[in-house]
Amino acid sequence: MNLHKLLATSTFRLALVYLAIFATSAFALLAFLYWGTTGFMAAQTDETIEAEITGLAEQYVQTGLPGLRQIILARSAESEVSIYLLANGDRSRIAGNLTTWPEGPPTPNGWIDFLYERPTPNGPVLRPARARRFVLPGNFLLLVGRDIGVRRQVEDRITTALGWAGALTVALGLLGGFLFSRNMVSRLDAINRTSREIMAGDLTRRVPLLGNNDELDELAKSLNSMLDQIERLMASMRDVADNIAHDLRSPLNRLRSRIEMALLHPGDPKAAGEVLEGALVEIDGVITTFNALLLIAEAESGALPETQGDVDLAGALRDIVELYEPVAEAKGLTVQAAAREPMPVTGHGALINQALANLVDNAIKYTPEGGVVRLAAYYDAGHPTISVEDSGPGIPGEDRARVLERFVRLERSRHEPGSGLGLSLVAAVARLHRADLTLGDAGPGLRVTIRFPLPRLSLRGARPSALPAPSAAAQTQSS
């Protein structure tokens, strides 16, 4: 990851903006602190000096030069930090602990900042001082000041501290922004890398997760589940394409052989007629397969506004039973239907009918003579539900998901006519209606339930909230 790229990231820019705002407020706070402490100290020094000058000036007025000199001598002796100098108009010293009048011009208010020599056991040292000049009547000059060495030290310390604090703020801010952006960039890079690998054809790649459940992890999870879905769809499309090719090759091959044989023996109209009839049967089989595929595709595409409407599931079930009952009877099966109350759902009547027909057709096909096919429409915890149950061999648990796929036919059903698309269509219709399709064990036999979503409240009137499950319901013999 190069620096240039890092600096160009939106995260880093955002970090910079935050740093600027934070640094400004930090500096404002530090400036306030600075002026609050050093300014206060300076003002206090000045006030003390002024008060002392005022006092001394009064003393001069009352006691004259000798009295003032006396006081200055006394104060000079007792204070370490106070500076006094009483001088003549030519600045020659009369009394005080300062030996010479300080160099440099005073401010208009009479303030002077200067350095003075202070005697210590190790010899004299230069120290900063601040004083004010006052002209006494009689052209005498009075200078009162304070040693400000300590104050300067404090000020220096504070300034240094503030400088470091400021520098640290900026440095930490930059470093934080840097690290934060680098983290962001590396994680987004991981996502980008994964996308590129997938685009290059490796659909099994997934975005790595950190496992900390932050928003990037959430994003990665969503992307991964989207990729799972896409991979599944791609795989199923591949399977479907393979299966179509495979399933159509057999009838086409038979067709080809028949026609070839007929061409080998021309001049036999009877044989030719038989060939053509056989060809028609093969072609009809292929057409049926295609129609079923188209219907599944239609249900899966999900957009069928023209045919959406109110469908009474119970009525649909009764009608299908009525249609198939003679077929079942001809095979020696009993059909039982429990569907009394109207059960309205919003859906596609034709597709629901086709799905029901496929289920009943299957049930009849796979139930041996003397068996029972049970159908029911009931509310399962408020969900409109239909179930089709047979007493046939059922479908082993491990095959139940598989049989919903297109063209999947179990070994034992190979000898039965069918395209292997019946249950796929049922599954597609269930998905279209957001209904749950379950293949279960009827012990013995297969039990298929389609559980529709809860009806919207706008649907008509009251409905029984929970009819008992079909096994407990009183069954009406339809035949």
Binding site: L280, T288, L294, E306, T307, V327, N358
Partner: protein
């Protein structure tokens, strides 16, 4: 496919189909079944022909160059032309069928179809417009169906039918002498628009046949091989 007994003759048919091979085959088949056929290869020509003369039935492909089938029929209906229209379409989806019927079509047949299916449906469309269909009593030979009392008799002997069997017989008698396909029965008697894999209709027909033909010398309900059924007196 040879016309078998019950087929109508001499329908004036307008065929609008842009697939030249399909059009040629259909034209030939319809001519051989005794009908008069005019063919248009696009929507504009089709509209022209339909405006120029009266047809018993129009067979219109949905996808046409120039003016598509839906628009063509929409125009005809706007102009007050009530010629029965049968749509042919490679789009066999439920939605497309609904659109076709909404646009003014009377029936809809998805490609690929059996020629006998097309013929039977065309005839049903032409017959449907005949005034006799409002009769309260339908008779074929000695078989009589009373729509008001909902009773059926043959040679005066009452025949007891289930409600759906009654509807089935009623439809067959309405189209007496005509070939009726399994799909037509499923659509018109059961109101189902799908292809049941098992041939459920055959079982219903054999039940009905047992009730109306059993014990009588002459069968009325005939199976037309490769096409469907026909209710008629034997020639």
């Amino acid at each position: 496919m040879q016309a078998d007994g019950g087929f109508l003759n001499n329908m004036r048919v307008l065929l609008v189909e842009d697939d030249v091979d399909a059009a040629h085959f259909l034209e030939k088949g319809l001519r051989e079944s005794g009908h008069v056929v005019d063919v248009a290869a696009n929507g504009v020509d089709g509209l022209e022909l339909a405006r120029g003369q009266a047809y018993d039935v129009a067979v219109v492909d949905r996808m046409l160059p120039g003016l598509d089938g839906l628009s063509l029929v929409g125009r005809l209906r706007e102009e007050g032309n009530v010629t029965p229209v049968l749509f042919l379409s490679a789009l066999g989806e439920v939605d497309d069928k609904v659109k076709g019927l909404k646009a003014g079509g009377d029936d809809y047949l998805a490609k690929p179809f059996a020629f006998s299916e097309l013929l039977a449906r065309m005839e049903a469309l032409v017959r449907r417009r005949a005034p006799e269909s409002v009769q309260t009593k339908l008779t074929i030979g000695a078989l009589e169906l009373d729509r008001l009392t909902r009773t059926v008799t043959r040679e005066g002997k009452p025949i007891d039918l289930q409600p759906r069997e009654f509807l089935l017989l009623e439809y067959l008698m309405q189209h007496g002498g005509q070939v009726v396909t399994r799909t037509m029965l499923l659509e018109n008697v059961w109101n189902y628009h799908f292809d049941p894999q098992t041939n459920v209709i055959d079982v219903h027909i054999s039940r009905l046949r047992a009730k109306i033909d059993k014990g009588f010398a002459e069968p009325l309900l005939h199976t037309v091989r490769g096409a469907g059924y026909c209710l008629r007196e034997s020639a």
